[in-house]
């Protein structure tokens, strides 16, 4: 555990308490989910989804609108409880980065980081804030109110808040949705560096090419069902055995083949 890492108990999803069946073995996946089901009235948002992610792994969750991507991430983050299924984790801390920046616009960058570091019960708050400002390259904007930042910088603060407790697993919902290409590139450099440092990153995206370039494994969801789980290249091969296709075309063809 690093100097700034949050207390494990405080960062774990609250609903997991008492629901973890077995501890995961060392060297195995950091996060493991089996048969997750979520219903909103008569509508089934998730229909028995399985997932696992190892240390330092980048997992992309893709699918059409309403596929259940955000629902899956909010369940993994502990914001919602599944109606059925099991979830096991041996991660020390779990960071959550929602699609829209979740920060206080009247507070400065540093004040936001400091507040969430305190709420996450980080040991050395000042050190954690300094580290995240450096990682997000926002040292010179530390005292600025976040309402005055650009969309890209707000998203960097948003991710920095998710990382302030040094979680072993980071969950991101559409992290690049509001960013221009240059900001997207910077963000992926940042996320890739995190994964190389051992942080497991699971993210949802509409941008299929991001999954191709920035994912070790891809989870394809449609109407709450898991249609595919594997490496991006494997998905392409599934569809385009006879002719070379780009990843996005292959993905659309895959969905069509499966009736979506």
């Amino acid at each position: 555990m690093g100097t700034g890492r949050a207390d494990e108990a405080s960062a774990a999803p609250a609903w997991l308490e008492g629901k973890v069946v077995d501890s995961l073995a060392d060297g195995g996946p950091v996060l493991w989910a089996s048969g997750l089901v979520k219903r909103y009235g008569d509508r089934v948002a998730l229909a028995g989804v399985d997932l696992e992610a190892g240390r330092g792994e980048l997992v992309a969750c893709i699918g059409p609108n309403g596929a259940g991507k955000t629902t899956l991430l909010t369940i993994l983050a502990g914001i919602q409880e599944p109606d059925e299924g099991q979830l096991q984790s041996r991660a020390h801390g779990l960071g959550w980065v929602p699609q829209h920046p979740a920060l206080y616009s009247k507070l400065s960058v540093a004040e936001n980081l400091r507040l969430f570091a305190r709420l996450e019960r980080v040991g050395d708050v000042d050190a954690a804030v300094r580290r995240m400002l450096a990682q997000a390259r926002l040292e010179d904007r530390a005292g600025e109110q976040t309402s005055r930042l650009s969309g890209g910088n707000r998203q960097r603060v948003n991710i920095a808040i998710g990382l302030v407790s040094e979680p072993e697993v980071l969950l991101l919902d559409e992290p690049t949705a509001a960013l221009d290409p240059r900001q997207r590139e910077r963000l992926w450099d940042f996320i890739t560096a995190l994964a190389e440092g051992g942080t497991t990153v699971i993210y949802a995206t509409h941008n299929v090419s991001e999954a191709e370039h920035h994912a070790d494994r891809v989870l394809v969801l449609a109407d709450g069902e898991r249609l595919f789980w594997g490496e991006p290249e494997e998905l392409r091969r599934t569809v385009a055995a006879d002719e070379p296709r780009d990843f996005e075309t292959a993905f659309v063809a895959f969905l069509r083949q499966r009736g979506h």
Partner: protein, 444 residues
């Protein structure tokens, strides 16, 4: 929770316009409500009972006064509530059907005709609501002033006749016996004539005796002039009696209302707004997934609203204390009452915030709710129909404003019991707290 509270105070500090609106707006609205309500209805419902026997007629100075047209004029100014006798009239005030009962005692005509006694009009008022009491005061004062003016004209005519008699002399009937009054002019004439003719020690003693008797009668009449003048000035007096409650100055009631309204406005707006802000800033899911439970978040928002509204209303009371007399030895009761009331308002605000789920909607919903809640609670009895009044009472009981007003009236100047409204507020706090918690489950 401590860090969230500090964060919210930091955000408030950086929103001076919001703070100014939260403090100034309720003060302005409270003053406007006070002014609007102090006008009251044009024709207040009053139970009128005339105990004077029907056969009695009022005659002053030989001139009969038309009592029927006087009653009609009275009924033009009030909305008469039927009452067969004194007991029914008082009961109608007690039940709230009438704002006041006016009773003309059975000896009123006799006293008026005697010219030396003043009849006393009995007025029964329900003092539970100082606004109503003020309204009745204004109406009765106006009615009595009009009646006194008419009677005053009749008495003035009698007085002029007495003065003429004293001046010129003539016949006058007192207790059935006729006297011939000499008059000051005759005295002058006789005295001058006697003086001119009088030799020393002659028979003029009889004339001098007449002068002496006139002098005596003149003195007696002048002695009576004080009473006659008093009767002329104010023939009818009013005896005011209270059916319920204690007499409360309107300014003190206005202070209680201003404090209650400000407390409601600041607490509800802050609780609703600060909770909805967490979702508008998209932070709610980030908070409740681990660092802060939903219950702790509600508690923190309630605490923020209570602390801020307590500070505002106590400062307001300190300011009001400069202009109106307040009982400072009851300060402890003020704080207890404000705290309990603020808790109920905070719970109500949290429910609004959790239902609205978005900052601007929460502010609009809270704003749209608060003003009608205040007006409903301030509708005086007798202004609307009994059914509408009862309905408004039931609706008011569902929100903390009316019990807060009752509790503040009691805490500020000991009008009515404090325990019942505080228990009412505690029950509302629990109910709204539960509703807020349920609403928050679908908040994220």
């Amino acid at each position: 929770m401590r860090w969230l509270l500090i964060k919210d105070l930091q955000i408030l500090r950086r929103s001076p316009l919001l703070v100014a609106v939260l403090v100034l707006y309720p003060v302005v609205v409270a003053v406007l409500i006070g002014l609007a309500l102090s006008r009251g209805p044009d024709r207040p419902p009053v139970a009128f009972v005339n105990e004077v026997p029907k056969q009695e007629r009022l005659e002053i100075g030989g001139r009969r006064l038309d009592l029927v047209s006087a009653r009609d004029r009275l009924y033009d100014r009030i909305d008469p509530v039927p009452a067969a006798n004194r007991e029914q009239a008082i009961e109608s005030v007690r039940s709230g059907e009438a704002l006041a009962a006016v009773i003309v005692p059975r000896d009123a005509v006799r006293k008026l005709e005697s010219r030396f006694e003043r009849p006393r009009l009995e007025v029964y008022v329900n003092e539970d609501d100082p606004l109503k009491a003020r309204l009745v005061d204004d109406t009765i004062t106006s009615l009595v002033t009009t009646a006194n003016q008419r009677l005053s004209r009749a008495f003035t005519s009698v007085l002029l006749r007495y003065l003429d008699l004293l001046l010129r002399g003539g016949p006058v009937t007192v207790l059935g016996q006729q006297f011939d009054v000499l008059g000051l002019k005759n005295v002058e004439r006789i005295s001058l004539r006697a003086a001119a003719k009088l030799p020393a020690g002659a028979r003029e003693r009889e004339q001098l005796a007449r002068v002496a008797r006139f002098s005596q009668l003149a003195q007696q009449n002048l002695d009576l002039t004080d009473d006659v003048l008093a009767a002329v000035a104010q023939p009818i007096t009013v005896e005011r009696r209270t059916v319920n409650g204690a007499r409360v100055p309107l300014t003190t009631f206005a202070a209680a209302m201003a404090v209650a309204f400000s407390l409601m406005f600041v607490t509800v707006m802050l609780a609703a707004g600060s909770l909805a802000l967490e979702r508008s800033e998209n932070v709610f899911s980030r908070l409740v997934r681990g660092p802060v439970s939903r219950g702790a978040l509600l508690t923190e928002k309630a605490l923020l609203a209570i602390v801020c509204s307590l500070a505002v209303t106590l400062l307001m009371l300190l300011g009001l204390g400069i202009f109106i007399p307040l009982e400072w030895d009851r300060f402890g009761l003020w704080v207890v009452t404000l705290t309990v009331a603020a808790t109920a308002f905070a719970a109500m605000g949290l429910t609004v915030g959790a239902l609205a789920r978005e900052l601007s909607t929460a502010s609009l919903l809270a704003f749209a709710l608060l003003v009608p809640v205040a007006f409903l609670a301030l509708i005086p009895s007798g202004v609307v129909s009994e059914a509408v009044y009862d309905f408004s009472r039931v609706l008011s009981a569902l929100f903390p404003f009316r019990p807060t007003l009752d509790a503040m009236s009691s805490a500020l100047y000991g009008n009515g019991a404090l325990g019942a409204p505080l228990l009412h507020l505690a029950a509302l706090a629990a109910a709204f707290g539960l509703a807020g918690r349920v609403a928050l489950s679908r908040f994220g």
